[in-house]
Symmetry: C2
Subunit: 280 residues, 2 copies
């Protein structure tokens, strides 16, 4: 089960950190040559640099889909490359659809030759739209992270709308996520169905943890997006686990020039140490 695999990988590395790979050409230390070749060179370098330091990488599908089918081909090869290096790979594709279309997405992205270990999912379409992803994840030993509360400023305009009976729209999503993940709680106590929970107010973080006691929270917003390690405890379970802290720009663009890979590795190590210390 993914929850247990993640738990073991985090223990082996020492902290629940995830490096977000969302390359944009303008930021690469070496953008020479064909765009996709430059992106590939950069991403391969980041995978080499963070393997053994971070247990998990999260690849942003949009950064590859922007190049059409050739970008998707590169994304597939990087998923394979990440797993070959012993990393757990999350495909951050935020897919969501109903019935057979949901099954298509789940199978395409979580099974077969270019399968990722986990996928981000958008549950707006309702419980029967998430269940096909859960079914494939269960069969493949894969994981899901369903969008519950995101870190963008405008998240409040929709996710923060109050609902009847208390809580807000993200609470309704949280309850659905807990429900569909209940059958996939492993020996670690963590479900293979996790949640994306962005940096948010302390009281919202605590409420969401109460609503999703078995979920791993994929937490973007560390480093460049403004989050820091000090508030991490409130997202964690009482055991101190159940979080996966993601940083992208602050790690992958840590260096320039010939030594950029070493700078990336150094930044990943610092993040691992900070997050490990904050969680105790």
């Amino acid at each position: 089960m993914f929850g247990d695999r993640l738990s073991a990988a985090v223990s082996a590395c020492g902290a629940p950190v995830c490096v977000g790979l969302d390359p944009v050409l303008e930021r690469l230390p070496d953008a020479s040559g064909e765009p996709l070749a430059a992106v590939e060179r950069f991403c391969t370098g980041v995978l080499d640099a963070v393997a053994g330091v971070a247990p998990v990488v999260k690849i942003q599908s949009a950064c590859f889909e922007r190049y059409g089918w050739a970008g998707v081909r590169l994304l597939e090869s990087l998923i394979v490359g990440g797993r070959e290096r012993g990393l757990l790979v999350i495909n951050d594709a935020k897919r969501g659809d109903i019935a057979i279309s949901a099954t298509h997405y789940a199978k395409a992205l979580l099974s077969g030759d270019a399968a990722a270990d986990a996928l981000t999912v958008n549950g707006y379409l309702g419980v029967d739209a998430v269940e096909p992803f859960v079914a494939v994840a269960e069969r493949e030993g894969a994981g899901l992270f369903v969008l519950v509360r995101t870190s963008n400023p405008g998240a409040e305009t929709f996710q923060g709308v109050g609902i009847e009976g208390g809580g807000d729209v993200s609470s309704a999503m949280a309850r659905m996520v807990r429900g569909v993940g209940a059958g996939l709680v492993g020996a670690s106590g963590l479900s293979s169905v996790g949640a994306v929970v962005g940096a948010t107010k302390p009281e919202v973080a605590e409420r969401l943890r109460g609503e999703m006691p078995e979920q791993v929270f994929l937490l973007p917003g560390y480093g460049a997006q403004g989050g820091d390690a000090s508030g991490l405890r409130r997202f964690a379970t009482e055991r101190g686990d159940g979080v996966l802290v993601t940083a992208s720009r602050s790690v992958i663009y840590a260096g320039e020039g010939a030594g950029w890979r070493e700078a990336v590795r150094g930044a990943a190590e610092r993040m691992r140490d900070e997050v490990g210390a904050a969680l105790g």
Copy 2:
């Protein structure tokens, strides 16, 4: 502007109908040979059959993504092929992300060589996640259909949750859609930012029309999914426009054997006539 382009195309064909292209190998009239070649042959045949009958086709991205990058390449070629035949093409990819990632998706799918005329979008992430799509759509003269109320049985579990102040989660989404689409209302009175609204209870349909007076409602669920033409009026504007009725299986699988293309064309013509008659 897309709203006006759509309005003109509907007038030229006589009814606001859309043929949904979501091929699954098991249902094809001729599935011989390589899977992707069979899918390509089928889809090209459907595009030939419905051109001049239906103003719009909607291609389900999941049916192509299931084949990885090679499927995406085929999807791109079919988008081009549909537009070459004079059809407006909606890419039903249900994308949603924030900031630069949203822009990546919007540019990849609405601009460039394989751009569609319109894209389906998931707005769960909030208003600032939809705005980058709107910006690209405005620049390209393209359209969006944001998921508001879907036709799957489980939609109610999330979209139907009551919110403070009246209405439900889909009302909160509807208000956001109207807001972001307000600047893109053309001479037709229709915004280039539309909404996906599935077959639903009469009172919900009327409420959503009140909440989104300028939106084109992309209505799945006609034909095989159980909808019929009799209830269409309640989704329309007072002018009798503002809907785009989609059928997939009942049209694309209308025939078998050598004459399947003629059967598809006949089914599209019948749908056009029924929908035209129902809307008056």
